[in-house]
Amino acid sequence: MTAGTERALRVAMPWLAMAVFLVVWELACVAFDIAEIILPRPSRIFAVTLQRWDILLAFCGETLWTTVLGFLLAIAGGLVMGLAIGASPFIYSGLYPLLIAFNAIPKVAIVPILMIWVGVGATPAVVTAFAISFFPIVVNVATGLATIEPEMRDVLRSLGATRTEILTKVGIPRAMPYLFASLKVAITLAFIGSVISETVGGNRGIGFLMLSASARNDAATTFAGLFAIAVMGVLMYAVCALVEKRMTRWAFRGELVT
């Protein structure tokens, strides 16, 4: 096998794997004569997707913007909180236990409370997406700051650097790869957050679409919604991975020296 075909094959592998998966699924449904209400065939889901393309697209757009908005808020908040926690032992000891406790709360449980406060609609979805994706960002940024080499710190201190200077010259640049690595995790969580919120108490978005379709025993549409979420999740993950590579080229040093 030449290097060219090997590379082409590596690019094609995920698509091949998915194709095999769908074919096996399709054949299994036919072979075992599975009722559509239990497990619809992929071809059927595909047909429904095309048929309801407009609705799906509109509801996807709804989910996407609430997710992205919550995610962006989580980046902003997570960055500030992570820097504060990583830079100051006092803030760390004060807030970290609270953060862990907050993270331990299942986010499904806060949706009803949010609905009391802000009503049904986009806001609970944004807030849930924020709440669920906030934690990994904080932890990663704080870790990046806390793991500055002591020697590096000594070099700067003996030059007479202030705490702020140490933070801006070393801390923040050093935390960046940690931040961008956490974004890939956080964006997927943000999707989970907004879909949960839409499912528990929404009147819009893919989560709501799936819930109402399943209430009508319309399994094919429910699955179409599932696929839509997966596609959006992969796309947003890819965007985050791309941004990561762009912003922290130095952290991928091995791949650059060619």
Binding site: E149, E151, M152, D154, V155, L156, R157, S158, L159, G160, A161, E165, K169, V170, P173, R174, M176, T248, W250, A251, R253, V257
Partner: protein, 265 residues
């Protein structure tokens, strides 16, 4: 002789005790030594004898448990500013090019800090000259991780020197290098020192390195570290690798080795 000048750094009966939980470790006991302006001293001793601790005390990174440290006649109570430091680990920032790494002290130390934006081109040229003087001319645009270990350590020395510090702290800066690179860097280090005459404290395990570079070598005892021997090195400069094979040089190294062996016995 620089050693006869007024003392720049003065340690008086300095001790340091580390406290971890309830356990107390006396790392350094009653260290008394003074370093003249422009003197190059080396501190050698068995591992864990508080050599690095001594360095942190001189720069004020650690406050002594008892005794006093004076620099330029003033008692040290906080990290003294503008010291050049080089460790065994080059600690270059991977997100900066080698040139930008070397420029770092100028972004922090006054008065360069205030002029940094304005004089950037001038400073970059200075960094480039310094790089050339350690044999790294033209490598300024490379990232540290594109350089070999020896090249990184040369850049590290450049960073420690760019702001022309009065005091240089060298904590085993050549420790992780192969023997040939190390000996080459001794020569470079000596050359830089002869040119600029900064006051240097070198912590090392390598007795030949200490004798090659220093005016005075201090031997420390096992923990708790005490200064047990002070050896003035009267070999004329510039010293070369040939010097290291001369009987007088070998005798000095031998005497130091003997003293350290007593500590291990």
């Amino acid at each position: 002789m620089p050693a006869n000048g007024p003392a720049l750094v003065d340690l008086r009966q300095v001790s340091l005790t580390y406290r971890v939980g309830k356990e107390e470790t006396l790392a350094l006991a009653d260290a008394t030594l003074s370093i003249a302006k422009g003197e190059f001293i080396a501190v050698v001793g068995p591992s864990g004898c508080g050599k690095s601790t001594l360095m942190k005390l001189v720069t004020g990174l650690l406050p002594p448990s008892s005794g006093e440290v004076h620099v330029r006649g003033e008692k040290v109570v906080r990290p003294i500013k503008g010291v050049g430091m080089a460790f065994q680990n080059p600690t270059l920032m991977p997100w900066r090019t080698t040139r930008d790494n070397i420029l770092l002290p100028l972004e922090i130390v006054a008065p360069h800090k205030q002029q940094f934006r304005r004089k950037r081109a001038e400073y970059a040229a200075r960094a480039e000259r310094l790089l050339a003087s350690v044999g790294l001319g033209g490598f300024g645009d490379k990232y540290p991780w594109q350089l070999s270990g020896g090249m990184q350590q040369r850049s590290n020395l450049c960073r420690a020197l760019i702001h022309e510090p009065e005091i240089m702290m060298l904590d085993e800066p050549f420790g992780a290098l192969d023997a040939f690179t190390r000996e080459e860097l001794w020569g470079i280090m000596q050359l830089l020192w002869l040119e600029r005459r900064f006051t240097a404290v070198l912590v090392t395990h390598d007795l030949r390195e200490a004798v090659y570079l220093a005016d005075t070598v201090y031997v420390m005892s096992r923990r708790p570290g005490r200064v047990v021997m002070t050896k003035r090195i009267d070999i004329p400069r510039p010293r070369t690798l040939e010097t290291t094979f001369e009987p007088h040089f070998v005798d000095i190294v031998h005497a130091l080795r003997e003293r350290i062996h007593q500590e291990h016995a």
